[in-house]
Every structure is written in structure tokens, then in C-alpha cells.
Amino acid sequence: MELTREEERILAGEEGEARQRAMRLLVVLGKIFGAERMIRVRSAQISGVSYRTIGDAGLEFLEDFAEAGAKASIMATLNPCGMDLRRWKRMGIPCEFAEKQLRIARAFARMGVKLTWTCTPYYASNRPRFGQSLAWAESSAVAFANSVLGARTNREGGPAALASAVVGRTPLYGLHLDSEREPTHSVEVRLKPSNDLDYGLLGYLLGKSLGGGVPLLSGLGGPSLDELKYMGASAAASGGIALFHVEGVTPEAKRKRFDGRGLEALEVDGKDLDAIKDSISSSRDFDWVLLGCPHLSLAELRTIAEAVRGKRLRKRLMCFTSRAVRADASKRGYIRAIERAGGLVACDTCMVVSPLEAMGIDGAYTNSCKAAHYMPSLSGAEAALRSLRDCIHAAL
């Protein structure tokens, strides 16, 4: 790999131990992926922050790295962790878990990372622009940033994203290159997805049947940002998809008019989505409704608030969003409406990274295929898939 003089200096340890360690990791990854050089990145989104997933080994690494003087040199934001950092008792989180999670929070704070705790940084303070280079972990945010915003990032691991936050660089390979952003598959959608769940199922099907690659979808009308969010999140959960194009909708497809001819082709109809749903959705009835994987947008919180305002929920409803979006929703009265009806709007966490089994939740209604994918293996809980509106009706 060709390094600049400044990069060589960092690698030689002339700017301190932490920057040296960060650069060393990026050089190793660059070498493995055949990168010619480093590029500068605008922001980093760091995953692997829940004590539930990284355990003591991860916690100790983060504390050691902070102790070694690691400091973010660009905007760096954080994925959700294992609990609402202010209202964890109300969520039913055990004390020992909370203590470890708070140590992780302190380590990131020492490193100058913004404690945003959200998988939708693009709805909060970290919204990239078209063409910007990023080092983002969190597969759903990667899919959104690449596909919907036209920014450029590979699917980073947690340590690599943190290293990029420290030295402001990433190796130039993969989705940072024009050639790797061209579609590899053409997907003809022969149904009209009618809600967020349909889009999630469509994404799940893409991830599962293609494994990876860059699908170019045709036949979709005008999906909302939230619908694209669910599609990307589930395509990234069931497979390794980090970028998709939708004809006439996503920014690169609008600018470039990709030619789908000659690509490996796939057709999807309503029966395919039903089959996917049957394979990941439970048919049991549950006492819980869990919403917010990825984190709920302001528009979704409004939908929920309007549906439950002045009513009393029969089931237990937990909604997950970022602190930034919750503050906006609070100003508009959405939070009060949901919590007066008996729901809880938690921040900093979600149903995938919080310890559901310790909270006494063995299954729930949800609109998230990503959650349905991870809940069984991470916490032994099942998911019954419904659209957002049907989830709310199930709770009423």
C-alpha cells in the first residue's frame, strides 16, 4: 500500500500509540482487500457497543484503547447499546449488565465519540451527503447511506470503524470505487408492496437469494424513506447487501440510468414474499409489541401516536428510537400520547441488542424482518411479523 508521509508518521508511532494502533489495523485491512492507498472519510459510525454483544473482551479493549489516548479526529457516532442509559431500570435491565454498559459508555466518551446510540444516524446529527466517503459499521445504516443517500462506505467492523474515527481514513477498496457500485443483478418486482413489512420482506428475500452483490430493482413505485430503511436493513441481515439501486428512485440510479440487460435476473412476486414471511415469522400470539429496528423515525412515531392517542393499550408496547428523534417527537406531543396509552418510548437501544431474555420477553409482534432474523439466536425470542399499522392494532 502506498502511504502519504503523514500516514507513515502515524504508522511509525510519531503521533502516539493509539493513532499508531489505529493506522496499523487499517493498513492490515487495506492489504487484505488489495487497497492501493488510504482515503479520508467524513464520519464514522461505530458498532459493537452493546455489552450484550462484545462482552468483557470488547469492554476491556475499549478501555485499553481509551487509556492509550485514542481520540476521534472526525465526527464519530455510536450504534445502539444494550439499554436505555437513563431509564434502564424501567426497561427491566439487571444491575450487573447496566454497570458494564455504563463502563463502555465512559470509554467512548473519553475517546470523544458522540454518544448518539442509534442505528439511524442519518435521522440525527450524522446525515451524509451524496458522494461523501464514510467508514460506517452497522449494516442497515451502511445500506441506507450507500443506496438512499448515495454516500460511499464499506460494511466496516466495529474496530475498523473506530480506527477510522481516530485517524480519519479508510483503505480505498470495495464500495469506495465506482466500478464496485455498478449493479450485479437485475430484480423485477412484480407486485406493489403496500407497506413497510412488504419492503422488509422484499429486502430479506434479496439478501437470502443473492447473498451479496448490488441489485438493481425495477417495478417499484415511490417507496418512502422508512420503507427503504426496512428494505436495506433486512437485505443486510439475511445477506451481505450493502448497496442497492431502485430505478427512478435512488440517487445513483437517477443520475446514471443503469442498464439491467445482461445482468443475472431475478423476478419477485407476492407468493415469494409470503414464503419468506412464513419462514421467519412466528404464528403464536404474544403480549409484547416491539417497534424500532432500525430506530423509528419522527414520521413513524407520529403514526403510532395518532393511532393510540386517548386509548389504553392491551398489550405491552415498547418503541425504540434515537435520543435526537425522541426530543423532536416529544416537542410535538407524540411521546406523551404513546406513554399515556401505556407504551414506552426507549432510547439508546433496541430489541436486537438488549437482553430480552433477562427482561422476561420470549416473543413479540414486530414489523422488522431484521429483528425477526436476530431475536431467536440472540435472545431465544420469537417474532410475529406484521406491518407497523397492524402491530399497533395488535397492541390495542
Binding site: 485491512l29 487484505i32 454483544t53 462484545i54 462482552g55 479493549f61 467492523g157
Partner: protein
């Protein structure tokens, strides 16, 4: 039979020098849930190395698998003094490479001979991560 020496050439992924007795796994290794960072023992059910310690060994296996948190487990092994002296992969991937880079464990892959056949558990092995060399001394 006198001991024979052989040098394999490949790609130095993580720099550094490591030396030890080889421990060879024909199967990929998932560090998260597969290796206990505090004891260095392989704990994955049904794994060919189950019950053996990776501490101080030159660990030879095809590639990593499983969760990316495995990188932190490799770091944990180093922190508790139970890390392998070096790792040799057939073809490495980001989980193992990240873990080795964080922990400073030399890592070499893409050798000119299949390391799973050229190296036997118990051989004396020297790994040079700067130059991508693996020296094997068969007993």
C-alpha cells in the same frame, strides 16, 4: 530420521515474529464462543481442537468464521497471556486479521503450499509476518 526444514512463502498480513509448536485445525475457527479468552482453551462443541490450548502455539487453520466479535476475543487472549504466538491461515479474512492487528499477533496467509498439509501439529514453526515466511521444522 533427522529433522527436516522447509520454508513456505506467502503474504504477511500482520507484521511481527512468532515461534512455537504448531497446532493445526482442518476446520475454520470461530473465536466468539469457540475459544475461551481467559484459559486459551478451544471450547466449541465438536471442534477437532476441542479441549486443547492455543496459548503460545502457532495456530494453523483455514480461515475465521462466525461473529466479528471474534476479533475482541483474540485481543482478550493476548491480554490474559493465552494468545497464540502466531497465526497461519489458508486465506485470512477481516475477523482474524482485525484481531491479530489489535493484539499484535503475526499473521501470514496465501502460502505457496497448503499449510494444512505441509504443517503437522507438533512441528516447530517460525512465522515472519513482515516477510510472509513460515519456517517449518518437522521432527
Amino acid at each position: 530420521m533427522p529433522p527436516s526444514k522447509r520454508v513456505l512463502r506467502g503474504r504477511g498480513a500482520v507484521p511481527g515474529l512468532g515461534e512455537g509448536e504448531a497446532l493445526v485445525s482442518p476446520e475454520p475457527i470461530s473465536f466468539l464462543g469457540g475459544v475461551d479468552p481467559r484459559t486459551g482453551l478451544v471450547i466449541e462443541r465438536g471442534h477437532p481442537l476441542k479441549g486443547l490450548s492455543v496459548a503460545g502455539k502457532v495456530l494453523v487453520f483455514p480461515r475465521g468464521k462466525g461473529s466479528t466479535v471474534g476479533s475482541y476475543i483474540i485481543y482478550g487472549l493476548k491480554r490474559y497471556g493465552k494468545a497464540p504466538a502466531a497465526i497461519v491461515n489458508v486465506e485470512t479474512e477481516p475477523i482474524i486479521a482485525t484481531g491479530c492487528a489489535l493484539a499484535g499477533i503475526p499473521l501470514v496467509d496465501r502460502l505457496d503450499a497448503d499449510p494444512l498439509e505441509a504443517i503437522r501439529s507438533g512441528d516447530r514453526v517460525v512465522v515472519n509476518g513482515d516477510m510472509g515466511l513460515v519456517e517449518v521444522e518437522t521432527k
